[in-house]
């Protein structure tokens, strides 16, 4: 018995411009999360290349890639994945602490990020004391902590009810307007509609790639 090679993503070529807001959509198992993981350097392609701002992510060694993710990328996950032992403020501080930002500076920035996502009053709360929507806001603030070049979000509204999901869509839109480049993977049609560019995938391939302007 040998391991069968499955191509989760095949023949995909995609460019993401600075300031872009892109949604990757498609049925389950079409390879959209894998594409996001490749972009984020948490998965490696067997063939092909991934470059971010001219840096070959696919060729970086593990330590170099970790540092790159810390300094240039922000991640938002469907299940939030906040550190349960840390308060909202400390969760946001975590990537900054890792990047060597001084305590006073990182505390100031964490507070302003919490205010940005509308949770200034909840800084001392642990994740278990926050609602799903609030946890996802903290996760977004954590992703923005080191001023990333690219924010990658995998089903950011997947665990949220419709109303909270709508708030999240609004927040991501505001982030993009403020200059953050965003790539989201989603099944949420509202979220996909909010993006300025939508990439459709099927069976590991891009079958459609159009901007809002193209669609109209």
């Amino acid at each position: 018995m040998g391991a069968e090679l499955v191509h989760a993503v095949r023949g995909v070529s995609i460019d993401v411009a600075e300031g872009e807001y892109m949604a990757i959509v498609g049925p389950s198992g079409c390879g959209k999360s894998t594409l996001l993981n490749l972009l984020g350097g948490i998965d490696r392609p067997n063939t092909g290349s991934v470059s971010i701002r001219g840096a070959r992510v696919d060729q970086m060694r593990d330590g170099e890639l970790t540092r790159f993710r810390l300094q240039h990328l922000g991640f938002v996950f469907q299940r939030f994945y906040l550190m349960p032992a840390l308060s909202a403020l400390e969760n946001i501080e975590l990537p900054m602490a890792e990047a060597g930002v001084k305590k006073a500076e990182r505390r100031d920035r964490a507070r302003s990020l919490l205010a940005y996502v509308g949770l200034a009053a909840r800084e001392g709360h642990r994740p278990a004391e926050l609602s799903g929507g609030e946890q996802q806001r903290v996760a977004i603030a954590r992703a923005l902590a080191n001023r990333p070049a690219l924010l990658l979000a995998d089903e950011p509204t997947g665990e949220l009810d419709a109303a909270t999901g709508a708030e999240m869509i609004g927040l991501l839109g505001r982030l993009n307007q403020d200059g953050t480049t965003i790539v989201v993977v989603t099944h949420d049609e509202d979220l996909a509609r909010a993006a300025r560019r939508v990439v459709h995938m099927r069976d590991g391939e891009i079958v459609d790639d159009r901007t809002r302007e193209d669609a109209s």
Binding site: D43, T66, R79, Y81, P84, L86
Partner: protein, 394 residues
């Protein structure tokens, strides 16, 4: 922040962490006891031999001090010759024997030490004073207790036995002038000390001008080993034993104790190691999602490992501190049981606490804690991020 995360991981399952700490504490206590046992007897024997500053013992040729009933003849002449050595500052002759003592009508038998009060190194006076005059005697508490005598009482003592007459010989009246703690006696042993000449006389012709042992104190700064060799070659009737050579003999006799302690100590360390490995492995497996997300957001693998290793080290350290206290209590208890070991001086401790032992046990446990945590933490922190997140997804 790493400390906060490590501490939080430990307090997340308090009962489990507490049980692990208790497990490590038991293992640490046993390790400490074994370390104490491996060196305790040796060190306490050494301390005992050195307690009165005598570095060399002279026993009849080919024997160890008080190992046989053999005695050294020509004791007075030998003492003078030894005292003439410029490297020797004190010579204490000691004759061992038995005395039958009768006080207030109650006869008992006691170990008797004949020595010179001015240079004696066999007992410490607890009450009264040393026996100086020929009709004086110093006794242990056990003798007082068993005879019902008191300090100042006169007792009848006899050192020999005439088989034909079926009666004791060498009877004499002695005044109890002191109560003493006898350094080399076993617990509960009846012991008395009296001037050397008195005991020689009481024991009869067979002990005339004889001693069992000479204890020799070398001048400060003198080469003790050289002095021992000189005595050994100059006086063919004696074997000179320095502390170093005595310790060599003790080491040979106690080697099985050390092997036993080493094996049991290694087993306790292995138990502690496995406990921590198990706990850390379970803990890592429970929060793989958190761990790979930390890696995804850019926390270096080594820092993730460090955080998890810290958890193992905290368990080991808390367990070790608790185990230190537990080990001291159990060592004390075991020591009290073993103190009644027949023939061993009461001053000998099987478990002798020395700060170095505690530091050694602590260092071993900390190292074991680090090693026990490194593998599961490295394994957890090296999981492929994307694949693990997929597995963790509901």
């Amino acid at each position: 922040m790493l400390l906060t995360l490590a501490w939080a991981a430990l307090t997340r399952h308090r009962a489990r962490t507490l049980l692990a700490i208790l497990g490590v504490a038991v293992s640490a206590a046993m390790l400490l006891d074994m370390v104490m046992l491996s060196s305790g007897m040796r060190e306490s024997f050494r301390n005992l031999l050195l307690s009165r500053g005598y570095q060399i013992r002279l026993a009849p040729k080919g024997t160890l001090p008080f190992d046989t009933d053999a005695t050294i003849a020509g004791a007075a002449e030998l003492r003078r010759a030894l005292a003439a050595d410029p490297d020797i500052v004190a010579v204490s002759p000691v004759l061992g024997g038995q005395l039958r003592i009768v006080a207030r009508g109650r006869p008992i038998t006691a170990v008797a030490i004949g020595n010179d009060a001015a240079v004696q190194g066999d007992y410490e006076v607890v009450r009264g004073r040393a026996a100086i005059a020929r009709n004086e005697i110093v006794v242990s508490d056990e003798v007082l207790h068993d005879t019902g005598a008191s300090l100042g009482d006169t007792v009848e003592a006899a050192g020999g036995y005439d088989a034909q007459l079926r009666d004791v010989t060498g009877r004499r009246a002695l005044v109890i002038v002191g109560v003493a703690h006898f350094l080399y006696m076993a617990a509960g042993q009846r012991a008395v000390a009296l001037p050397l000449a008195t005991l020689q006389e009481a024991a009869g012709d067979r002990s005339r001008d004889r001693v069992s042992v000479f204890m020799v104190k070398a001048r400060q700064g003198a080469d003790v080993e050289a002095a021992r060799r000189r005595i050994d070659s100059r006086f063919p009737s004696v074997t000179a034993i320095s502390i170093a050579t005595a310790m060599q003999q003790v080491d040979e006799r106690l080697s099985y104790f050390r092997q036993l302690a080493f094996i049991l100590g290694a087993v306790s360390l292995a138990v502690g190691f496995l406990l921590v490995t198990t706990l850390v492995t379970v803990s890592v497996n429970e929060r793989l999602g958190e761990i790979v997300v930390m890696r995804a957001i850019g926390v270096a693998r080594v820092r993730v490992v460090l955080q998890i290793v810290l958890e193992g080290v905290v368990i080991m350290l808390l367990g070790a501190v608790l185990g230190l206290a537990l080990g001291l209590v159990t060592a004390r208890y075991l020591n009290s049981i073993l103190a009644s070991f027949p023939g061993l001086p009461a001053a000998i401790d099987f478990f002798l606490f020395e700060p170095g032992d505690a530091w050694f046990a602590l260092a071993m446990l900390t190292t074991a804690g680090i090693l026990a945590s490194v593998y599961p933490s490295w394994r957890g922190a090296s999981r492929p991020i994307a694949a693990t997140l997929r597995e963790e997804a509901p």
